[in-house]
Symmetry: C2
Subunit: 386 residues, 2 copies
């Protein structure tokens, strides 16, 4: 394959942005071949911005059956990701899904199983923050053992500010029925993914405190504090909200050989001359700590963001090489957010993997109690927000 | 009174340092008149460094009954603080106690009651970090309403590194019997006090995860993560350990009108042009946040530390004016640490004020199971640690 013909399902907020990126010729080897949306208005709105060669469909299935595309990009509300991804795979299409992978792990596990059954097809997920040079450096340093054994992680990621008007812009937004969660499902899949990707471990236990509709007139959580424990004994915290402004994005990882801190675009590594565990065992002076070197890590370089994932996915389809953000890894961040919800609902610590049936049942209760929201579904200007 | 004659009970680590400060003439209006210690070796060791006028006693009571002193500084292991403070007050002496105020709130409540019964006597506590210009600025800014209603607090205070040799230096150290706790009782009373003093609120609920002997061969906790809720709905986190190096000291407070962050000696205020709650209710643009001004707060100025508290206490005794760090406020940080212990022991969220009887009972169980430690009681060089 020399050129990958993309079809996009859903051209609302994110799907529309991806359509423009592909149509703009910014992705070598990729072409926007088709678009499907069940809302005619959305197609009418974007049509003028796209090349005349693009074909339009009022159903995802019709587009996937048309033979016009090689790969499908799924950019619809979260609940539909697994179903449409599986429909694409079943038709021999490469699939790139928006985050989150789904709303509950049972459905995502099924999607992953389908993907593993099609090794000839690429299955990717839009974890565009994995193309951020700051996070790539952190990932690489931890993977290379520069921090030694991980002891503590702390991410204060409260810079996802949203005002009430954001939530009022879509009837599906911030409802159990429409999104299946709040800040954890809409804004934080990136961070939850990066957290486990960079640290290189999934938590084994989580105690979370999710506050639903605390700062906004919404059903779902808009304020979360979570404490986690890892299999190796390390601990961590994750704090997020959509109500803090100016928010904070500070990610700290402490290991036996030093500490890594990312904040305000800077990455600082504090490298120990002697590993802490060794110092603890051998130093005899009471007070005193190993010498430490403070190193500013170079984080310059391109941050291609969504275009980076589209580019990598296209490359992988053409060359057959592995993906930077494999779709089957999408379950990890979802597993973490499901565990946070479940811990909060049950008011106790939960073990991972979570009890999927219990989570699903409680989610259905939330959905059943979900109130219908009135108001128009606006398409928002997404500049500066992902 | 023109000059306050101090007697110090206990001239081990901290008491010895205070004796030298007073003897060095660094505190206007204060004179070191006497010293009491039950360990003759400690007196023998410090005697040569102190003026010839200083009197020595082998019991606190004998010194307090001698008529040689006007004020007593209590610098013995934590459990004895309330008993000796009350003994001093009962003899008409002004009392300055080292932190923590005690080990469990029941005994501290009794001490406070005794102090309130003697309004003619000053009763202070060695919260020397209340003289740090960074924390004074934070306190004053919150008190002046510059942050508006508090929404979130986060203190990562992991820069209390101690190696195993520190714990091995005293048979009472890091035992339930000798200290009644670990990092929360020995290192963190300062931070727990500053946390409530600066924020201006006590938490109403606490869920903590205390890990006992996780990083050191000790009985007590050396790693703590706590989540708190305040009466106004705000939440907070507090993370501490004696095993991280280089540790972190980052204290963030988010309010309706902005955010205050202290780290690495710098204090930055992010001031909002429009309060967040007002913006949330009135802004109609979906994404978007109020304008924010980043202000570096001047934190220069003297940080007199222990000498500052000695100076303030002396001044208050002479003038009768209020203390900067009143002893009766010592119960607050202890209440918080007791709640953290209790939450962890019970493995559930606890409400404040804690169930004192339950706490006391569980503490007795810990003490009963406490193993005797062997090894000499060394006097450590405290430079750079408090």
């Amino acid at each position: 394959m020399k050129q990958v013909r993309f079809g996009i399902i859903g051209v609302g907020n994110m799907g529309g942005a991806h359509a423009r990126t592909l149509a703009g010729g910014k992705i070598d080897g990729a072409v926007l071949a088709a678009v499907a949306d069940i809302v005619p208005d959305r197609i009418a709105k974007i049509r003028g911005e796209l090349p005349e060669t693009v074909r339009y469909f009022d159903s995802a299935e019709a587009m996937m059956d048309s033979g016009a595309i090689d790969a499908v990009l799924v950019a619809v509300p979260h609940y539909e990701h697994p179903r449409l991804a599986m429909a694409g795979l079943a038709r021999g299409l490469h699939v790139l899904v928006e985050k989150p992978a789904g709303v509950y792990t049972a459905q995502v596990r099924e999607m992953n199983k389908a993907a593993l059954g099609h090794p000839e097809l690429k299955f990717g997920i839009m974890f565009n923050n994995r193309t951020n040079p700051v996070y790539i450096r952190m990932h690489d340093m931890v993977a290379a053992g520069e921090l030694g054994e991980i002891k503590r992680t702390s991410w204060i990621i409260t810079d996802w500010y949203r005002s009430q008007s954001y939530y009022d812009s879509g009837s599906w937004r911030a409802t159990w029925k429409g999104e299946g969660g709040g800040v954890l499902l809409n804004q934080c899949p990136h961070n939850l993914d990066l957290w486990q990707w960079i640290v290189g471990m999934m938590p084994s236990r989580i105690r979370a405190f999710c506050h639903e509709g605390k700062w906004h007139d919404i059903e779902v959580e808009d304020d979360v504090t979570a404490y986690v424990e890892y299999p190796n004994g390390a601990t961590g915290t994750f704090v997020t909200t959509t109500a803090d402004t100016p928010g904070t994005n500070r990610f700290e990882i402490t290991g036996d050989r030093g500490k890594l801190v990312a904040e305000e675009g800077r990455l600082v590594f504090h490298r120990l001359a002697v590993p802490e565990r060794e110092w603890n065992a051998t130093y005899k002076g009471g007070f005193g700590q190993p010498a430490v070197e403070r190193i500013e890590i170079d984080t310059s370089g391109d941050f291609p963001n969504h275009a980076g994932i589209l580019r990598d996915f296209t490359r992988a389809v053409i060359t057959g090489d592995p993906l930077w953000a494999p779709g089957i890894e999408g379950i990890r961040s979802l597993e973490i957010s499901n565990a946070m919800h479940l811990s909060s609902w049950l008011d106790k610590t939960v073990e991972l993997p979570v009890d999927e049936a219990c989570y699903f049942e409680l989610l259905q209760e939330k959905i059943a109690a979900s109130a219908e929201k009135s108001g128009a579904d606006a398409t928002l200007d997404l500049k500066g927000s992902f």
